[in-house]
Symmetry: D2
Subunit: 347 residues, 4 copies
């Protein structure tokens, strides 16, 4: 009954196998190897265009490095107030960018709207050189509250940003879940909508430690190589990240894993929504379920071995009462049913 | 009819005279001179305790350097969403601190309340090492919207901050105006209330370029000297800032200048509030008047030679329609009357 | 005939096996798992004291993060002019520390001496706040030129540093090779000599991506957790670094791998030194051989399939003519003999 | 007998007068005033081309901000090992640039040569992304040891730098002294030789606090405005720096002041060189004399009221025995003669 995080799930067997197979004789270090080249090319296929692709081991590094290329150090990044870059990276974006400002904006289920972005920008107008100039809009797909932007929603947000002179960054820590949930193409949910830079997560969806930064306009990748190196994020044995992505993107593994996790979350959400006193907070679109239990129930569930964390929403008067349940490629239908039985028992 | 900013006013003659007098033979550089020592001691008298005092030339430097000593580079500074450090320093606090995060919080007339601070902190809970740990509460006295915190209000905010483990920084760019407005002692409006570090502005109130950073607990000044130097804010001819403060604090000049400016703003505010179609937005407590004119009136006033700027409030649907009028030690009663006549003429 | 780098060698089978075994059901993320706890404790045994231990994936991250805890952002790090932190991390230490200065110092075979350190400090005297205050002495064990500091040499350097108020950082990217080469205990070559913080490398010696930062005084670890997180170096699936070190430190694997590599380098060095026109530059103490070939020979060797890189020594008039040959756990005696035959053939 | 520093001298009366005169009614803040515009244009005349010019109050700010525009944060600045940016700015360049590396290079009397620069670059070769890429050559005119580069010497250095892909920064804290000493035009000693960015000092030569950053290619000024603002170096009452430069550059005041100081140094140097046991170390080309006294003499001179500081040369075995004597616009011929008498008395 582990719904603590998709990070707890370990790695998919196919990923471990790929790492084992990649350990075959000497290979050039620092990404000069053939496998890395090949997997970079695979990303270009998936996104149906010529991209520049870079690998790192964590999502925080992917976001921070991407943003550091997209904004000057005195620029401003508009983001959701519940976004990972705002809430969960210990001021990492500020560190990587050399001091850029984050402007948190509210919105339902972790989603921003063109209206909210426009209002935020109007409330922080360009007055060079006094205010930090807005340089980047950062979105998360799927959001930290488990919502998915449609291609049209993304496009409208990108249009708003571009008209205001901002580039758009997409934190895709759970991009696979969004693609699996919508059936849209990876390109439709990113570059076709106008996204400039996408961070594609592997780690939360069955990789060991693998994140890709994808620059849809290769010219904008600029000095990424230098920034990755000085931040200690250039692996000498890069083939071992490449190998993970090789397996991940092969024969749709990434979407199979995400589809599995999404399905378990849907079952969980449906089950919970039928239990008296239990309130599911957002539509369950990917592998996350946000739920409020009756007083004392969460404690009892944990005593019975369930693992999950509270979820805090800035500005919510009920902050701290909501819980986040996450499923993964490893979550079984039995895990879900067992948990639902426990919930019924304590509510 | 110049109400653009107290920064447009130049320097008070007493300040210029003091600079001239200080130019008397050689003196040790970098603050090693006697005058600097003496003026530092004068600050201790004014605040009725042993302080560490440092001088710089701009308010942005004072705030940034003060905060850089108060927070670790991965810490979080809670501030008002309209505060100067958030809106007007081009991400300077992020730069000086090496990447600390600013958390903007709303509140009426630029003021924060213990409730708003508590709610903001509850919405960004400590989850080491994931969220940036809240380290500093930054307040402005008087606020950017011309409001003054009472000693009791400050104390309640400091108590809230201290209980949550934060230190409190006070941006006193218009501290003189607040002291003059309330008649409270400088200590009552800062250290006695629990403020740890105060930036005392001189520049907006008749100095040429003079700001003081006052550490009420000398032990907390730590490495300020090194930080000021590496940021290029240690003057070699420091006596010329000290001389400004020497004159400023002598025989109550600072309060006389502020009292004058405050009085002109009050006249202006009273006059404006009696004119049909003109709306004064906040209580006029210091030398700033926030006013909305009927459509087209602002343009006409500017054609007639009036100088003032629009004021933007984040989140305000009327953003951009409000104007800020600032008076200074140089504003005369005639300036005010002339402007009021013009307003009557165009409204 | 691959002598390009120990980074080309891939991972030892025992390391891959450990990763596979660690992938066993859910486990708390971010280092909250039992395996991580256990391996941290193993480091304490190895170094015979209570330590604080942190894991990251690259040597650049280990060095940068360690230094960021040891120096203020305006401090100065004294290091060898050929050190990895100076030459090979793309200004990473400057980035991680928020702008600390590196003072490069010369010395034979990558080694510093107390005399050289004293002279360097005398040439950059404390003049607060004008000069950056020296805060850290950084050494590499074994050095970038393949030399090993004896316990006594390290102790003398630490004494010199401590007397001048500096802490001592040890870059141990090839620490295993140094321990294997000398037979000294890990503690003798680090904490017993006075080192405050040691970065223990695993990656160059058979791990996939595993580096440990060891604080010998737990109190000095201070805010490492926050710094690692904001730099994107906290793995969510930390158990997969812990698993590598678990295998690495078990039954002396780390020393067996290093002993093997060292032995191959010694054979290579001995063989080369007997060939006319070939000059071996430094004593071969670990798994690195520095060699100058007759004109044109390097090119011919590469045509025959040999892999190695030129080595540049700052200030050396022959810069660019010297080559560095590195052996690894994977290098066989046959590889060495084959290469020696080729060298004989072309010289 | 004050030879401590030109920073001790206070300001020239013409400068104070100009500040007083500039305090005339309201004027737009932040450099939007007419005087600032006019003085910027004056710089273009002096350097015989269209420049972008910015004012700040300290030399450390001028250097740091200029360099921050010239180098990426992971770049490398080649400089003299005795340069002010290396020795005297408390790691300011590292701070302003967001972590660029300084590579210190030796050379006689604070001067670099094309040979030394070439050797340094060869010793730190481009190996992207491993080594920090060399981006800027920083020179000082006149040097920290009182030497002046001829136009030809500067040109040769700029050619060397440009061929290697570096831009050239000139720290002109004592640029006036160099121009006065050589009789060359300001352009000949900077832009005509190939310098991209020049920091023109006023403070050491009679200004109160005034430094100008001059971009000879306006396109390269890029984002200077934003960087100056966020670092707290944009004065609100900018006219008071402009006024200083207005007077400074009017009717050759800057060169008269420098010529005076240079002449006193020459008299001092000549006098000292005839005294037994006194050794003058470098040619005296500007207003600085470097001198070694017999044992105990310096102490006796200080007892008699002379003020001067020791000078430390990195790598000099006699480090700490040399003294630096500085003259200023305020030093009289009598001051010099009185000091020479004292020296004769104690030697």
């Amino acid at each position: 009954m582990n719904f603590a995080s998709d990070n707890w799930a370990g790695a998919a067997p196919e990923i471990i196998d790929a790492i084992t197979r990649a350990n075959d004789g000497p290979a050039p270090a620092y990404g000069g190897d053939e496998l890395t080249r090949r997997v970079e090319a695979r990303f270009c296929e998936i996104f149906e265009r010529d991209c520049k692709v870079y690998f790192v081991a964590t999502g925080g590094a992917a976001n921070g490095l991407a943003l550091s290329v997209m904004t000057p150090p005195y620029g401003m990044i508009v983001c959701h107030e519940e976004s990972h870059i705002q809430m969960d990276e210990c001021a990492g974006p500020e560190f990587f960018t050399g001091g850029a400002k984050l402007l948190p904006v509210a919105g339902p289920a972790g989603k921003l709207t063109p209206q909210a972005v426009t209002k935020a920008l109007k409330g922080f107008p360009e007055r060079p050189p006094h205010g930090a100039p807005a340089s980047v809009l950062s979105l998360t797909q799927a959001t930290e509250c488990g919502a998915v932007y449609s291609a049209d929603e993304l496009k409208a947000l990108c249009d708003t940003a571009h008209q205001a002179g901002l580039k758009v960054h997409l934190d895709g820590a759970r991009f696979a879940n969004a693609v699996a949930a919508t059936g849209a193409s990876p390109a439709a949910l990113s570059c076709d909508a106008g996204i400039e830079v996408l961070c594609v997560g592997g780690t939360k969806n069955g990789c060991l430690a693998a994140e890709a930064i994808v620059f849809f306009d290769p010219d904008q990748a600029q000095d990424f190589e230098f920034r990755r190196k000085r931040a200690g994020h250039l692996w000498s044995k890069m083939r071992f990240i490449a190998a993970q992505f090789d397996a991940y993107l092969k024969d749709g593994l990434w979407l199979r894993l995400a589809t599995h996790a999404n399905a378990r979350a849907r079952e969980l959400s449906l089950g919970l929504s039928t239990i008296d006193g239990v309130e599911v907070s957002y539509p369950t679109e990917i592998n996350e379920v946000f739920v409020t239990f009756p007083d004392g129930a969460a404690e009892k569930l944990k005593e019975q071995g369930a693992e999950f964390y509270p979820w805090v929403t800035p500005g919510d008067p009920a902050a701290g009462r909501m819980n986040r349940l996450i499923t993964s490629f490893r979550t079984s239908a039995e895990d879900v049913q067992q948990f639902l039985s426990c919930v019924k028992g304590v509510c």
